[in-house]
């Protein structure tokens, strides 16, 4: 290394500091642009839903509403009170809740149990079985529509919330099993050995030892399953109609079947209502997810 000239060193230092600030601002600028790009549709949805139809017809998409009106939200949620032909979201929202809660719970629970058995109670052919689960992740929705419709028919649960719970549970199992299997494989087997010597059996070890430390992966799985099932349109529209439809199907019906004038403000409010639960799941569970990841680990 050549002898350092203090003046030269200072100049180098200053120029590299300037470069750093420049790139830092460039980074912020880019990130800001992306954020605006992603948030713009949501902004349009919200302002449109708060405007009156007259204001919307003036064509100023990005402007703030003159007066904030929640009427369209009310209409989207509970209708106008017509006797017939009035489609509104409330009953279908509860349909979706009745579908998503058991489906998420059952598929997550079974996935955890599968992952536990596949990693901690190894048996002949366990890897083959896991491979088949993995294969299940790659089966496209469309491929199982017909066989599933037939199966639901035979079971007598076609066009019902129960039917949709079964479909989503079965289809989600591949994913939940994979999540839990990959999580449990990193947990030392010695912990299970210790519990076996202590006299705990298969289920006791699962509930007392493993499940209490599974929070991070449970949250990941719940987010994944909840979002997937809540937002699903294909299964919902294929296996249910009328009263038993979930919210996404109802939203579609509502937007497409308006007979007279197209009410963009009500449509936007309805679309937003349909998206709120997933938003809430991300906001609340996301926090626990980060917490779970940073909590004390097993080894020191």
């Amino acid at each position: 290394m050549p002898a350092a000239d203090p003046q030269q060193m200072e100049a180098v230092e200053r120029s590299s500091a300037r470069k750093r600030t420049f790139f830092r601002w460039l980074l912020f600028l880019l990130l800001g642009l992306f954020a605006i790009y992603y948030l713009a549709p949501m902004y349009v949805m919200i302002v449109t839903s708060l405007k009156t139809m007259e204001e919307i017809r003036q064509g100023n998409l990005m402007t703030l509403p003159n007066e904030i009106m929640f009427d369209s939200w009310k209409t989207a949620w509970s209708g106008r009170g017509y006797a017939a032909g009035d489609v509104f979201l409330r009953p279908f929202f509860w349909n979706s809740i009745k579908m998503v809660v058991p489906a998420v719970f059952i598929s997550t629970f079974l996935g955890a149990l599968n992952g536990y058995a596949l990693t901690k109670w190894r048996f002949k052919g366990d890897n083959l079985i896991f491979l088949m689960f993995l294969f299940g992740c790659f089966i496209p929705y469309q491929a199982i529509l017909l066989p599933m419709a037939r199966t639901l028919g035979i079971l007598g649960i076609a066009n019902s919330i129960t039917g949709l719970v079964v479909v989503h549970t079965v289809y989600g199992l591949s994913f939940t099993t994979m999540f839990f299997r990959n999580y449990y494989i990193s947990i030392p087997d010695e912990m299970i050995k210790a519990a076996r010597i202590d006299g705990a059996g298969f289920f006791k070890i699962f509930f007392k030892v493993l499940l209490p430390i599974s929070a991070p992966i449970i949250v990941v799985t719940v987010i994944w399953q909840f979002t997937g099932i809540w937002n699903d349109f294909l299964f919902g529209s294929s296996f249910s109609f009328g009263e038993a439809a979930p919210i996404q199907v109802a939203l579609n019906n509502m937007v497409l079947t308006s007979t007279s004038v197209k009410e963009y403000n009500v449509d936007m409010a309805a679309a937003f209502i349909a998206g709120i639960p997933t938003l809430l799941v991300y906001v609340f569970a996301g926090k626990y997810f980060i917490r779970g990841l940073t909590a004390g680990s097993v080894k020191g």
């Binding site: 076996r196 010597i197 202590d198 209490p212 020191g300």
Partner: protein, 366 residues
């Protein structure tokens, strides 16, 4: 009372044979250390004794009762693991009493055992903490507490000190030693650390490639290793092994190193052979670093050697000096006041009373 007998045990994982015809007899109160390099099958053997792995062939007997098909929890054993294997979601208290609760021991009895053993292991201040809030040493104590409260007939240890730093390791080693003195329970201990093995064991079983190479007291294993593997594995710095041939001069046997320059012969009269070698038989001559001594005429069987240091390392208490010896590098362990200089010959006594001789072909002691 707890004895353990392993007879003709064989175990394979798929097509790999991990344990071959293992026989082991442990009497009550013994401290057996299974010692060997990683992959030698020692942990598998321990897991089989615990009942965590199945047996392919052979029998495991605890107190003369065949336990091949007995569940781990019913074998009257307790085990301490390398990763501690504490239950992260439970407090120290719940970790320790988990086993007793499974056995449906009465509440008063559980509390009594908990108090007794947590005091003994000095974890009574930590009972309400979670494992994540403990240091490595504390976790190891809790893991031992969990094993102790079960009051097992046999303790199994699977490299319990490997995750601790050097200082703590020595401390915990002393405590395990004291514990054994205090309780007198039969203990089986797996390690790859020879210092742990030497200092804890009443008997050591040296394992390699799924076979128990030698089993005996630490002293016996160190002084009379039965094979080149055992000789080389035990002792630090390692034993000096020199290839050569046997020369017979009437009844007197001597050793001629392969690459000797000046017709040196090392007399073997002080060594008691199990089977006397023939003229010209290839053998390996082994002596430990401490057998190179300052000239001492009081030794009952010795030989004068001139050695040139090629490397001198001060270890604090001693000097470890590497010499050139008939084309081999050998190590000597000498007092630190010895006046050694690189390349300058010094006269030493080679103590021949505790040497080991192995057959070159079989690498077994003869």
């Amino acid at each position: 009372m707890a004895t353990l007998k392993v007879s003709n045990l064989t175990k394979n994982f798929g097509s790999t044979l991990v344990l071959k015809q293992i026989n082991l007899d442990v009497s009550d109160g013994e401290f057996i250390v299974l010692l060997g390099p990683s992959g030698c099958g020692k942990s598998t053997l321990l897991n089989i004794i615990a009942g965590l792995e199945s047996v392919d062939e052979g029998e495991i007997l605890i107190d003369d009762y065949v336990v091949n098909r007995v569940e781990p929890k019913d074998r009257n054993i307790a085990m301490v693991f390398q990763s501690y294997a504490l239950y992260p979601a439970m407090t120290v208290r719940d970790n320790v009493i988990f086993g007793l609760k499974q056995r449906k021991v009465s509440k008063e009895q559980i509390e009594k055992s908990l108090q007794h053993f947590s005091k003994m292991l000095q974890i009574d201040q930590l009972l309400d903490r979670k494992p994540a809030q403990l240091s490595g040493g504390q976790r190891q104590r809790v893991a031992m507490g969990r094993a102790l409260v079960r009051e097992p007939h046999i303790f199994l240890f699977d490299e319990p000190l490997s995750n601790l730093d050097a200082k703590l390791r020595v401390e915990m080693r002393h405590e395990i030693n004291k514990l054994h003195e205090q309780l007198g329970t039969t203990m089986i201990y797996v390690t790859h650390d020879q210092v742990e093995a030497m200092s804890l064991a009443t008997r050591i079983a040296v394992m390699n490639e799924g076979i128990i190479q030698q089993i005996g007291t630490p002293q016996k294993i160190y002084d009379q290793p039965n094979s080149v593997f055992v000789a080389d594995f035990i002792g630090s710095p390692a034993i000096n092994l020199i290839q050569g041939t046997v020369s017979k001069d009437g009844a007197a046997l001597s050793f001629i190193p392969d690459q000797q320059k000046d017709g040196d012969k090392i007399p073997l009269s002080g060594y008691s052979f199990e089977t006397e070698p023939g003229e010209g038989q290839k053998i390996i001559f082994g002596f430990r670093p401490e057998h190179i001594r300052l000239p001492d005429t009081s030794l009952k069987s010795q030989m004068q050697v001139e050695l040139k240091p090629i490397l001198i390392e001060l270890t604090g208490y001693e000097k470890e000096i590497t010499f050139e010896f008939h084309g081999n590098e050998i190590t000597g362990r000498l007092p630190r006041h010895v006046d050694a200089e690189l390349g300058k010959s010094i006269t030493f006594s080679l103590d021949l009373s505790e040497i080991s001789i192995f057959d070159s072909a079989s690498t077994m002691r003869i």
